[in-house]
């Protein structure tokens, strides 16, 4: 390791004989991770305060010996190097921070004994009900018992008995017997969710996790406690007993409920999604996500899902529908309603279609209340994408008043609606009746009732794409499950429409399409879908600095101060 140790904020530490320069104050668990040394732990979590209660991360700590009188280093004649004074007692890795010359040993007999001891203690009152436990397969207790435990039990006494199924709130079920009292959930509720409802009652080994009297764990972040629970104590009431985790395929995705764009993992098996959990991104969502974003996968198999291409209420095939749509679009007086929920690629194609038809393009804003954490006021995941691709030039409003006026004035005869319910955006039934509607989208609504052409497309869980979040961070998502029968990939539909209305013939393959996007969209130049990192890329947003975004603060986003 030859890292620049002379930088003022870096200090060199030695872990199991490996030297590494780390920022001063980095704790031993994180520093050890950098040199490939695993320091097992339960209570420590990189995004929560350090409490040091599990005692699993005990390590031996030493510092270079200095003569107290002369302040000169004491050299060990045996090695010719500066002697290390090892502390007799083991220290917690989570609470030991890097200082110059810090030496750490994790492989000594003492540390082996410490870990075996803690593992044994944690297991004596543990029910060992792995065969019916949801955490099995992703359980720290299982992993570390295998890695650091003795492998047998010396405990012949009665185990403690605790409540097995406490409803802590609408979405979280607690099995107290499995709890190792690490307090991660308590700290999360207090420090991150700012909803201090959890605590321990009773003492010693009889300590029990519970909600404060009259309170419930019901905030919109409650399921993060399930994610960070190192054992099977806190379980998701929705996911509980549904599927063994080792059968599940993981696909990266993005939470679409607001412009925060929390990074997620979608867990699926045989075409069915079972759960969504957060994916760590220290610049966006840390390791958290809202509960509300975890149930969005249910839209895939929702009853209102559009699953048949229709022309004038009759089933049709894709080419027939596209050709009917093209006829309508070519009659002129077209308006296009794009979507802040469409991907960058879809918005790019929508913009191209609008250009080919010389039609105005609108977008519908969705505004809610921001929670200052991971749900922002802008409830579209990709408003910025519409700006970056040039689909829109100013911020959208929630109501399509301009379009409504144009329809009333007879200036718009055909509307191409991309996954937006025009009725919900303020168009009356009379106005919808006055125009021909081509609907490209996923779910039925008042607009699809009135539409002449319906082209069912994919949800975010069935396709690949990118969104640009409130930080102008381009982030990608991937198809987790095969699409529902009767639906067509959005890019296929849009490229066909584009070609049919006289635009360029573009590839519907996202990787090829990106060569065009990178060539045509200034801010996306040089980027490609295939090489986009999983944590995203922040775009230059100076072009949009003057737009009056009003989303308010979130976890890693501060609105530019308006002077």
């Amino acid at each position: 390791m030859s890292l620049p140790a002379n930088k003022p904020d870096l200090v060199t530490v030695n872990i199991d004989g490996k030297e590494i320069a780390v920022p001063k104050g980095t704790n031993v668990i994180e520093a050890a991770r950098l040199v490939g040394v695993d320091v097992p732990h339960y209570c420590y979590h990189p995004k929560l305060s350090v409490v040091g209660n599990c005692r699993m991360c005990l390590v031996e700590m030493g510092l270079p010996a200095v003569d107290p009188a002369t302040k000169q280093p004491i050299v060990d004649p045996a090695t010719g190097k500066q002697k290390i004074n090892w502390m007799p007692r083991p220290q917690i890795g989570c609470g030991t921070n890097a200082i110059p010359g810090l030496h750490i040993r994790t492989t000594t007999p003492q540390i082996k004994d410490c870990r075996e001891g803690v593992m044994e203690f944690l297991l004596i009152n543990h029910p060992l009900d792995c065969p019916i436990c949801d955490q099995a397969g992703e359980c720290k207790l299982q992993e570390q018992a295998t890695g650091y435990g003795r492998g047998y039990s010396r405990f012949i006494e009665q185990k403690n008995v605790k409540p097995k199924r406490t409803q802590l709130g609408p979405r979280v079920t607690l099995d107290d017997e499995r709890c190792v009292l690490c307090s991660r959930c308590i700290r999360f509720s207090k420090e991150v969710a700012k909803d201090d409802v959890l605590g321990f009652i009773d003492r010693g080994s009889y300590s029990t996790l519970t909600c404060y009297p009259g309170k419930q764990l019901e905030n919109n972040y409650s399921l993060n406690t399930v994610d960070i629970c190192p054992v099977g104590a806190l379980t998701s009431t929705d996911f509980r007993f549904k599927m063994r985790v080792w059968f599940l395929k993981q696909t990266i995705s993005i939470d679409t409920e607001s412009s925060v764009g929390a990074n997620t993992v979608v867990w699926s098996r045989e075409g069915q999604i079972y759960r969504i959990t957060p994916r760590r991104n220290d610049e966006v969502n840390d390791t958290w996500m809202p509960d509300s974003g975890r149930v969005l996968f249910k839209q895939v198999r929702d009853d209102s899902r559009l699953t048949a291409i229709q022309v004038n209420g009759q089933p049709a095939n894709l080419d027939a529908a596209v050709s009917t749509a093209t006829e309508l679009l070519k009659t002129g007086n077209v308006a296009i309603v794009g979507s802040g929920r469409s991907s960058v690629e879809e918005q790019f194609l929508t913009k191209k279609i609008a250009g080919a038809l010389k039609a105005p393009a609108y977008l519908v804003a969705r505004v809610g209340e921001g929670d200052k954490l991971l749900v922002s006021a802008d409830r579209n995941p990709n408003t910025r994408g519409a700006l970056v691709t040039g689909l829109i030039a100013k911020l959208p409003s929630t109501q399509l008043t301009e379009l409504a006026a144009a329809i009333d004035a007879g200036n718009v005869k055909t509307v191409l609606a991309i996954n937006e319910d025009l009725a919900a955006a303020g168009l009356s039934a009379e106005q919808l009746a006055k125009v021909k509607i081509i609907y490209v989208g996923t779910h039925g609504n008042a607009t699809t009732e009135a539409a002449q052409v319906i082209l069912p497309t994919h949800t975010v869980f069935e396709k690949n794409g990118t969104f640009i979040n409130q930080q102008f961070r381009l982030q990608k998502f991937s198809a987790a499950v095969p699409s529902v029968a009767g639906t067509t990939n959005d890019l296929v539909v849009l490229t066909k429409l584009l070609a049919a209305v006289g635009g360029n013939a573009l590839s519907s393959d996202i990787v090829s399409l990106w060569t065009t996007i990178a060539a045509e969209v200034k801010l996306l130049a040089g980027l490609s879908f295939a090489t986009l990192p999983e944590t995203g890329v922040v775009l230059n947003s100076t072009d949009f600095a003057n737009l009056p975004f009003s989303e308010g603060e979130t976890l890693h986003y501060k609105p530019a101060s308006k002077s």
Partner: protein, 450 residues
């Protein structure tokens, strides 16, 4: 050699006929004169006196009091607090309660001198929940002292002001641990804090620099401020200065509290001469010299200790002087001064079962080894006593205790492990033989286990 005379410094007036715990009586006996002297001095002088006096904490760890004070972060700009640890909860210890009950103003004077010396504007007396009467006495004493201007705004007409507040605990051993006590005082569960970073002298009560001192320690401060560090440090023995109160309980003729110069009396003198020796027909078997968490000494064992000149000396249990350093060198500790004596009527497994039940009940549950280990040890000894004892249980007990000591957030790890470690180490034969001996008839008059 017969025992030396008691040196009653702190307990001067305890049990004195006619001595009452009101202010008038205290003032009649020269009370608050030292405070009057002290507020006219420079605060640093008093800190310096305490440092030079060599006073060591009387709560359990024996940490030098002056060093504790000098670690205070005085430059933080934050207020400095004094927290008086009156949570006397170590089994076998009953000294602070007599100070509180019979001579509360001595404590208040010590508190005020300490506060003045360290620029403390607010002191808290954290008194254990089981001392409701003591709390009432302290509150009355504070009100009297306040009315007489010894406490409160502009103490004795100076510009210095300081308030004292009594806070009652709710009955938990762990609140005697200084950072657990601070958490409790802040209104939280008394989970001891991790050190580093939460050293009370820097990040104590409300994250401000805080001194936590034991009741007896603060009374000593009054006497140091009175006679000066030089005269004080002549009491006792080098590095073990002053007097200390020894609370003797268990199987002796005259249990009780006795105050001696530190190190001037041996354990043998204390138990045989002062306390009248064992009960008729019995012999001493073991003694815990510093509160129930201290390691037990077995009568008959000897200790070979190094002298300063390199030679060595051999001590029997009876030879050990009751000071901090020699007891530590013999593998136990002076602790809180609670001397618990057990004679040959006691079965050591039964005795350990009792101690283990206490520590399992008092483990706060924060960190794994103490939480799970203390209950496991309790379950083992309870099974041995009430169910099936196995000859290998002693070895298992020791191994469990070894997995606790030195690996926990606070000293409760040692507190619960040391009894088991020492009982099994020193009376291992009894643990091995327990399956056969447990049902043997006990000597007449032996205590029945609950």
């Amino acid at each position: 050699m017969s025992a030396p005379e008691q040196r009653r410094l702190i307990f001067k007036h305890i049990d004195e006929p006619g001595y009452t715990n009101d202010l008038a009586c205290y003032v009649r006996n020269g009370g608050y004169e030292v405070l009057k002297k002290s507020v006219a001095r420079k605060p640093e002088e008093i800190v310096d006196e305490v440092k030079k006096s060599g006073l060591r904490g009387r709560g359990g760890a024996g940490f030098p009091c002056g060093v504790k004070w000098s670690l205070l972060d005085r430059k933080s700009g934050k207020p400095i607090y004094l927290v008086v640890n009156a949570d006397e909860s170590e089994p076998g210890t009953f000294k602070d309660r007599y100070i509180i009950h019979q001579d509360p103003h001595q404590l208040l004077e010590g508190i005020m001198i300490t506060c003045f010396a360290n620029n403390v504007k607010q002191a808290y007396i954290y008194i254990r929940g089981e001392f409701p009467h003591g709390a009432r006495i302290l509150e009355k004493a504070i009100a009297e002292a306040r009315a007489a201007n010894f406490v409160g705004p502009n103490v004795l007409g100076t510009t210095y002001s300081c308030e004292i507040l009594v806070h009652r605990g709710a009955g938990a051993y762990i609140c005697g641990e200084e950072t657990g006590l601070i958490e409790s005082l802040e209104g939280k569960r008394p989970y001891p804090r991790i050190k580093p970073p939460y050293f009370p002298a820097v990040l104590g009560l409300y994250q401000c620099p805080t001194i936590v001192n034991n009741v007896e320690t603060l009374c000593h401060v009054k006497h140091i401020a009175d006679f000066g560090s030089e005269a004080y440090s002549k009491i006792g023995t080098p590095n073990n200065t002053g007097t200390r109160i020894l609370c003797v309980s268990g199987h002796v003729q005259r249990p009780g509290y006795y105050e001696y110069e530190v190190g001037k009396i041996t354990l043998g003198q204390l138990l045989n001469d002062v306390c009248g020796g064992p009960l008729p027909g019995r012999t001493f078997k073991g003694v815990i010299p510093g509160g129930s968490s201290a390691k037990i000494l077995r009568f008959g064992e000897t200790f070979t200790l190094k002298n300063k000149d390199g030679s060595s000396r051999t001590l029997t249990v009876e030879d050990i002087p009751m000071d901090f350093d020699t007891l530590a060198a013999c593998g136990t500790m002076g602790g809180s001064g609670g001397v618990i004596v057990m004679d040959d009527s006691v079965n050591m497994v039964d005795a350990l079962a009792n101690l283990n039940a206490f520590y399992a009940h008092e483990s706060c549950g924060q960190c794994t080894p103490c939480r799970e280990g203390s209950l496991w040890m309790k379950k083992i000894t309870a099974r041995m006593v009430h169910g099936d004892a196995r000859s290998e249980d002693g070895t298992l007990l020791k191994s469990v205790a070894d997995q606790i000591a030195g690996r926990t957030i606070c000293a409760m790890g040692e507190a619960c492990a040391w009894p088991t470690q020492s009982f099994v180490q020193k009376f291992g034969d009894e643990f091995k033989a327990y399956p056969e001996t447990k049902n043997a008839p006990k000597p007449a008059g032996a205590l029945e286990l609950v």
